[in-house]
Amino acid sequence: MRREPTEQEIRDQRMYVKFGLTDDEYARICTRLGRLPNYTETGVFSVMWSEHCSYKSSRKHLRRFPTQGTHVLQGPGENAGIIDIGDNLAVSFKMESHNHPTAVEPYQGAATGVGGIIRDVFTMGARPIALLNSLRFGTLDQARTRYLFSHAVEGIAFYGNCIGIPTVGGEVVFDARYAENPLVNAMCIGLMTHDQIATGHASGVGNPVLVVGAKTGRDGIHGATFASAQDPNEKERSAVQVGDPFMEKLLLEACLELIATGRVVGIQDMGAAGLTSSSAEMASRAGSGLTLDVSRVPCRETGMSPYEIMLSESQERMLVVMKEGESAIAEEIFAKWGLEATVIGRVTDDGSLRITEGERVAAELPIAALVDEAPVLDRPAVRPAYLDQLNVAPVRLSTQGDLTGDLLALVAEPTIASKEWVYRQYDTMVRTETLVRPGADAAVIGIPDSQKAIATSADGNGKYVYLNPRQGGAMAVAEAARNIVCTGARPLAVTDCLNYGNPEKPEIFYQFRESIDGMSEACEKLGTPVISGNVSFYNETGGQDIYPTPIIGMVGLLEQAERLVTSAFKRGEGAVYLLAPKGQAIRDGLGGSAYLAMKRPDEALSYQLPAFDLDAEKAVQDACLALAEAGVLAAAHDISDGGLAVALAESCVQGSVGLAVAVTIAPDDEQEVLLFGESPSRILVQVRAGQEKRLKELASSFLVSFLPLGAVAETDRFHITLNEKTAIDAEVSALRDAWRGAIASWMN
């Protein structure tokens, strides 16, 4: 076996730098220990103090998120958050990034991202019932992008389909900014009763600690450090893990069966930094200590050193603390599922993580030093110069516009086009509770044996955040919530996945800090606390950072599933209205819009965003929710990328109906901004037949405007008249073909 470097060699040759530790950090460790750390200890410190595990750059700022609420049963700090949905039921959910592994090996990188987030949820005692994902790639004209995109989607499909959890929603955005740094953010939602809640606490001196699930191999060693590596070109392929959804399905069933026995003290997923972080975090939460004998860990490979066993990121493993004398229960249940459960140590009360290999002590470290005393950085933030160079956005781009042609082109932009090519690869229906499948504003999942359903969406717009970090952050939360209320559900809580560039650049850190403030303000206003989340920095290649891309995963509740509203316009129902803030200037310009990016790509980042007001947003959402709950809505659809015209087209295509819209308030030179501008806080609604009067009565009690747009028609005609002149005249079937076929035409 290869000889490990000695303590002195690690110091003298500054080997700790290769582990990702700075000179300062290493000196702090030596002072804290009162001695030099050995090889294993240096490895343990390096992963625990990595950005990925310690959140050292972000921790200070994440504290500003609102995390409280009467319905919050578990806030941030556990494997996943939990909210109460009434009737003794609760849902647990979390979103997590797997960006860097996906950039290196898209199929396995994306697949293991899904596997990891599922484990986070069932560790809490919840049965996973739905998956979502938010994806970012470069543009589809690049062969490399098509490779990353198709393999990442296939990997997500492989894992979710095999394990039998429906993938019900999400989003995909294509932009050159993500070409080298694709984003894969996976979200999982689980359902449980209140008494099933489990947590990651290693308490009770003498209680046995077990490793359960898959065997440990050499895969993914230093994955946590690697995720935070500055230069993605240095990423090593050897660190990529391979996922086994079949194993995870067995692990899921075995863990839920075990938790149901009530004999589990604590349970935690072995994710990033494997046994090291799971053991340290479990002991830290309980204020206890642990002694672990790595020679007892079942290994897949021979000759693994304590260092390798502690840092392995082999998938589909859990760390479990049982009540004393009851480890046999775990062994029995896991044997039924063909899995191993092996006692590897005990809980102690000395506050230290003691790792032995048989009798030999391989490492002995204070848990407080690993977790609580991990560095917290106060990174400098500087307002980027570009923000002060943005101009007031134009309201028109062309003099002799072919607006019909523009709409047909816009619906075929891959970011706007139907994502059917993606989601038809996902099993969206297994568990037979998917009431609204992908392709809608939000997915809706029924709660078995109950009237209730939950609505969920994942949203983010990196370009908006880039153009205005604070407002863009707030808009991401607002859009997620708007998508939820469009189904008639009440938004409850948020999980966030915060994807940014290199935090060591003060301009990037400014984007991070400001957008957190924006998100916090919106979460506060909309009453949706943050219950879990994840930060991914260093999404940077060759000096080019991604757009600051916070993704908001939101869950809302429909008390009556039968009251759900969908985005498709329906035949035989009433007129279509634009629900918007009272007095909103819809002529606020084309800044940040997909239309601008399509027509003038060079100017896509040159203009300010349309104004956004949280009070106005709240009023629109409250109005939509009240109308949905009163049962007067036949359809509701959020207006987002592509603006009003695209939203109208989507609702027509989804409902296979035509439309005749006539608006007379726009001055002629503002037609483009009316049709394609992306002013926030707007919802299209179709009223139920005969309910117009009630709609107007109800709407009048909110500070919102109701602009009548037109009527659904039993034709194939999509017709928009502005100031009594035809602005857009297209066949619905032509819009449908352009919208549905766009991504497939790139991929085939």
Partner: protein, 226 residues
């Protein structure tokens, strides 16, 4: 009618099948673990969808050697009804209860969609309650590309063993003759790639799976009345 739903490591539509039997027939189906060797008590055995044993090697290849599958073969021989859905269909072909094999979809992708099916043989014990020739039932599979050689195809057609075909000209997976479901010669074992258990209520978008479950119950009652 006593109904069993087999459960292999990796099954994931087992609960859906139990729910569908309860919802359509008001019967409580038993979940039967793969190590069970005795299925004598059951009149209907459902081999559900999923990825039994991870579908490693080939879909269904390992499950066929389980005790429960050997008991299912015996049950089929004594005349019990056997319904294989998706992975269950793959297992039934591997076990030799049904002819043919299921290959990877010709487009190489997993495909989940609502599809229209033609009820080719509405006179079987599994389809007699169907009143229409076209039904909508979802599919969700990566290996549903049905294969038989020409000779066997001729036999299937002559014996009216083709029960369901994909109605669209282009099948969603490349199956020979657009075949979506076949029955054995004796008429008591049906395998199909589409998921009837996912088409049992309006809220799921289709109710066209209900007639399949009702057909089985009616057929069983007729058999027991005589």
């Amino acid at each position: 009618m006593n109904c069993a739903v087999l459960q292999f490591p990796g099954s994931n539509c087992d609960q859906d099948a139990v729910k569908a039997v309860a919802g359509t027939l008001s019967l409580k189906a038993d979940l039967v673990w793969h190590e069970t060797a005795d299925l004598n008590a059951y009149d209907l055995i459902i081999v559900p969808g999923g990825f039994s044993y991870g579908d490693y090697l080939r879909a269904g290849a390992i499950a066929r050697f389980s005790k429960a599958m050997q008991a299912t073969v015996a049950a089929a021989e004594r005349g019990a009804y056997v319904l294989g859905i998706c992975n269950g269909f793959q297992i039934l072909t591997e076990a030799g209860l049904l002819p043919g094999a299921l290959r990877r979809n010709d487009h190489r992708q997993f495909r989940c969609d609502m599809v229209e099916l033609e009820v080719v043989n509405g006179a079987t014990d599994f389809t007699r309650a169907y009143e229409k020739a076209r039904v909508t039932i979802p599919i969700a599979h990566g290996e549903g590309n049905y294969y038989v050689d020409d000779e066997m195809l001729k036999r299937l057609e002559e014996n009216q063993q083709i029960v369901f075909r994909y109605a669209s000209e282009q099948s969603p997976n490349g199956s020979v003759a657009n075949i979506a479901g076949v029955i054995n010669e004796r008429g008591n074992v049906l395998g199909m790639m589409p998921h009837p258990e996912r088409a049992v209520s309006e809220r799921l978008g289709s109710t066209d799976g209900i007639s399949l479950f009702r057909s089985i119950l009616t057929s069983w009652r007729d058999g027991h009345a005589s």
